[in-house]
């Protein structure tokens, strides 16, 4: 298996490099546009590099751009988003891991049907469920609150996360769980002491998917979070929608990028584990 550059290998590398370019184009466009001045954008092509590194669009998008009547950029929604994201992802992952473990390794009657039932709900656009959910939430007294928006994220996020954890846990040897039982560990002790420490890779897969979903959500935040907890995406939509004078594409792109940054950074920081998690069986049949 010596790695000479045969024509076949050159072809493979060419294919991979062209594909990589395809994947990088939109990112390139967003980043370079956010660094250009308005005049540059109007004058040139989106594929040109900016003439100078100008981060003013970034600072403006973050702190001074006007959204409707407020001119504080998209920063005010940031901490709301963090709150919502941390709580939703934390609870979802915890519940999904417990449930996935229960479905994969313990005797649960009709476990296949339960899983199918949970998953079916993931095939409908959630918009049609808004009304009923708002009614239910207001009866429960959590409409327009942090608890409400977190609950709705958990509700819509759970099916796929449970599936991911279940698929991972089903590949754990059953004897491991039996050994823990002989050692006297109950369900929770087995879960926390033995299973959870083994789940780092799959947790990263689930976390990236969950954070992406929650962080990028707009409509659920708008409707369920209440006025005090509106997430950053609402601010972003406002910024892009509030166009005073000439559209400032650089500010829009900077705001878009800033908003997309947390899940992106999470991914870049742990992307290797993501692939490992997938390899470890987080996503399979």
């Amino acid at each position: 298996m010596t790695r000479h550059l045969t024509p076949a290998r050159i072809g493979i590398y060419a294919f991979l490099i062209i594909s990589a370019a395809f994947f990088l184009i939109p990112f390139f466009v967003i980043v370079t546009t956010s660094l250009k001045t308005v005049d540059e954008i109007r004058g040139g092509s989106i594929f040109e590099l900016p003439q100078a590194l100008d981060f003013s669009a970034w600072t403006k998008a973050w702190g001074t751009a006007c959204i409707g009547r407020d001119c504080a950029g998209i920063s005010p929604g940031f901490f709301n988003s963090v709150k919502i994201m941390v709580l939703s992802t934390g609870i979802s992952l915890f519940v999904a891991a417990l449930n996935g473990f229960a479905l994969a390794q313990w005797r649960v009657p009709h476990d296949g049907k339960i899983l199918a039932m949970l998953l079916l709900g993931a095939f409908l656009p959630y918009q049609v469920m808004l009304y009923p959910l708002v009614r239910m939430f207001s009866i429960a007294g959590i409409n327009q609150s942090l608890a409400g928006v977190v609950l709705v994220h958990v509700l819509f996020g759970l099916p796929i996360l449970i599936l991911i954890f279940r698929n991972f846990y089903i590949s754990l040897p059953a004897e491991l769980i039996k050994a823990a039982r002989v050692d006297g560990a109950g369900f929770f002790q087995t879960f926390f002491r033995i299973v959870l420490p083994m789940s780092v890779n799959v947790i990263i897969v689930a976390a990236i998917l969950s954070v992406t979903g929650v962080w990028n959500d707009y409509l659920l935040g708008l409707i369920f979070a209440g006025r005090e907890n509106l997430p950053m995406t609402v601010a972003l939509a406002g910024l892009v929608g509030t166009q005073i004078g000439v559209p400032e594409y650089n500010v829009n792109m900077a705001a878009t990028l800033i908003t997309a940054l947390p899940p992106l950074l999470l991914y870049l920081a742990s992307g290797r584990y993501f692939v490992r998690g997938v390899t470890a069986g987080a996503v399979k049949g």
Binding site: G68, D70, Y131, G238, T242, Q243, V246, P247
Partner: protein
């Protein structure tokens, strides 16, 4: 001019500054007026509410009317809607009023004398359609849909004058193209196509528009005028640039502002936006009624008031009503938004030339209602879908287009 009004508002703030109680009634205002000029107009209202001792809570849905309706509907479902909500007046107001979820503010407004100077047909758009005494929505301003915004430099460079009929424009188009300009600035989104088409129909004559949309005359749905309107729409669909699909109206307006396109048909709000872009009226751009339109197409921009169960809810709504029905505020609002004050006794001297032109037409009774005011949401949706499809599919002939459009209209009204 607008500075004077701003000063007036400022005075009001100062005078009522002492009225700031510890618990100022909250006024939650749901709206989607977030584009530059629109948000300046909202600011006028917000400042007015603050000056009157209310606490303005801004509930803006920048995504547009769809999200606002989602929030209103879920708010009503959850029992905690925003106290004031921006909405197109007309059939939608009536539908909500019929559900019994809206507050009848007729008594309060009448007592304060706010209704005396508002035209009757505008008031009618705030009722549930059965009882004229009960008022659920109030207009703050009138909008005009059928304006033509054109670029002065483009017409100067092409050696042409802005068209007065569609056929004249169609004849100009090749020359504009030759001179390197986009003849028609168009954002091909369903509602913009609909707006353009309604302007074309109005160009077929005010009586025809009336027969087709208002009095629902069956013969109008098969009339040659409709075929002609579709012919014009088909020709216009070829006169725009490749970037048109799904382009927002303000991005599109930028083409006119930058002197890349000759004209755009858009509502009165576009004028304010052009000013906001730093372009000068009569130097960079001009305005006129859309080609062939004898009259203005008028819609009321208003607010409605859901029933609230919070203690100071109605107090907050009352403060808002006081603010929005103040003629000074209405003028200031319209200056910003490029609309016309709803009260006929409001000062219009500060308005832009285009708005004044519309305001005079309204006062002379030369106004036709928006289709939103006269057609149900169901049929409007179907018509909009159809126009959208017609615009995109060049293979549909104007004859077929007119026939299908007429069929949808007569089958659903």
């Amino acid at each position: 001019m607008s500075k004077q009004i701003g000063l007036g508002v400022l005075c009001a703030v100062l005078m009522s500054g002492t009225a700031f109680a510890q618990s100022a009634p909250k006024v939650e205002v749901l709206h989607w007026l977030t584009a530059g000029a629109e948000s300046a107009a909202i600011k006028v209202l917000a400042d007015g509410v603050t000056a009157r001792g209310g606490e303005w809570v801004d509930v803006a849905t920048p995504g547009g009317g769809s999200d606002a309706r989602a929030l209103l509907a879920t708010g009503l479902a959850g029992g905690n809607p925003a106290g004031v909500s921006f909405l197109g007046m007309g059939t939608e107001t009536a539908e909500l009023a019929a559900q019994g979820v809206m507050r009848d503010i007729g008594g309060y407004a009448r007592e304060k004398g706010y209704l005396d100077s508002v035209p009757d047909y505008a008031l009618a758009m705030g009722t549930d359609g059965t009882d004229d005494a009960a008022i659920y929505a109030l207009p703050v301003a009138f909008e005009t849909q059928n304006f033509m915004w054109y670029s002065k430099p483009v017409y100067a460079a092409a050696g042409l004058t802005p068209p007065t009929t569609w056929d004249e424009f169609l004849a100009q188009a090749p020359k504009l193209r030759e001179a390197g300009f986009i003849p028609l600035a168009m954002g091909a989104q369903a509602w913009q196509i609909n707006l353009l088409f309604n302007a074309i129909v109005l160009g077929e004559g005010a009586p025809y528009y009336d027969r087709l949309f208002v009095t629902h005359d069956e013969t109008a749905t098969t009339a040659p005028e409709l075929v002609d309107a579709f012919r014009i729409l088909r020709e216009l669909s070829k006169l725009t640039d490749d970037g048109a699909p799904n382009r927002s109206w303000n991005d599109t307006l930028n083409l006119v502002a930058e002197g890349r396109a000759a004209l755009q048909v858009m509502g009165s709000w576009a004028g304010a936006e052009l000013g906001n872009m730093g372009k000068v009226y009569d130097t960079d751009w001009g305005c006129a009624l859309s080609p062939g339109s004898p009259i203005v197409m008028v819609g009321a921009t208003g607010f409605q008031f859901p029933k609230l169960n919070t203690p100071d809810g109605e107090a907050g709504q009352d403060i808002f009503i006081d603010t929005m029905m103040d003629p000074v505020v209405q003028t200031a609002f319209s200056v910003q938004k490029g609309s016309i004050p709803a009260r006929t006794d409001a000062d219009i001297s500060g308005l832009s030339a285009c708005s004044q032109l519309a305001a005079e037409a309204v006062r002379d009774g030369k106004g036709a209602p928006y289709t939103t005011g006269v057609l149900g949401s169901e049929v409007r949706g179907l018509l909009t879908d159809y126009l959208n499809n017609f615009w995109a599919n060049g293979s549909i002939t104007p004859e077929d287009g007119a026939a299908e459009y007429g069929r949808i209209l007569s089958a659903n009204s």
